[in-house]
């Protein structure tokens, strides 16, 4: 009978455990995010940066960690605001480490945009790192890196 008196505490503890477990699971399922790893060596990327060293951390590139089909991989690139006067994003370019054409896309904002949040679908020729580079009106350069494992590569090289 004494055991029956304790369940409220025990169950609260169990609930905390379950919540913690859920949080760990959720963290493991999060998509690949930018980290502080060095930029992959892509000649086109180096040419685009032209010697400028991008800041990592503010620009966010979301790609799945594991993509089943490299022919269409969901991509999202975001730059959280607010942007100071004259510090808005003017362009965001995407570079692939393994595609035959490394520069995948470039998005431009001819007018200052309050919300920089772009989604598209990219082709990836194999497991690789993808780099997004944002250039601000004031000249600041931001980058984000995402690593993707591709099960079925887009047949970009004819193989």
């Amino acid at each position: 009978m004494k055991r029956d008196a304790s369940p409220p505490i025990a169950s609260a503890h169990r609930r905390r455990l379950i919540v913690a477990g859920g949080a760990i699971l959720a963290a493991r399922m999060l998509p690949a995010r930018a980290d502080s790893a060095p930029l992959p060596a892509i000649p086109e990327l180096d040419a685009y940066l032209a010697g400028r060293t991008p800041q990592l951390g503010r620009l966010i590139l979301d790609l799945p960690r594991l993509a089943d089909d490299g022919n269409a991989v969901a991509m999202r690139v975001t730059m959280p605001g607010p942007f100071a006067q004259g510090e808005h994003v003017t362009s965001i370019a995407l570079f692939s480490e393994k595609n035959p054409v490394p520069k995948m896309a470039q998005f431009e904002f001819p007018l200052p945009s309050e919300r920089v949040d772009i989604e598209s679908r990219v082709r990836l020729a194999g497991s690789q790192r993808v780099v997004a580079v944002a250039i601000l009106a004031g000249g600041a350069v931001h980058a984000a890196i995402a690593e993707v494992v591709v099960t079925l590569a887009a047949c970009l090289d004819g193989s």
């Binding site: 035959p100 054409v101 896309a105 998005f107 001819p110 309050e114 989604e119 887009a154």
Partner: protein, 107 residues
Amino acid sequence: MAASRVQVPAEVRRGDSVEVKISIRHPMESGFRVDDSGRRIARNTIREFTCRYNGKPVFVARLGSGIAANPYLRFFLTAAESGQLSFEWVDEAGERGDALASLTVVG
């Protein structure tokens, strides 16, 4: 040319960020594929896409073979006045496509 589908909110408030989604039917031929007789299929992708809001360009996308077939784009613009959104794109063969959507701004 290619058919497309555009999605914008029916009504937005002034100053709001407006989500714009567009999907365009286009093979985005990479130039690395071969046909049944082994001949290389010429590269042909949409190279430039422009969204104009009441005539002013607000979003431009320069695409290539790294973008999936039937390209889908989602972006945001800031609501100012009621009016028209026009979308225009051109592929490497010089073919153009366009689409229109109207935006109603209240408040």
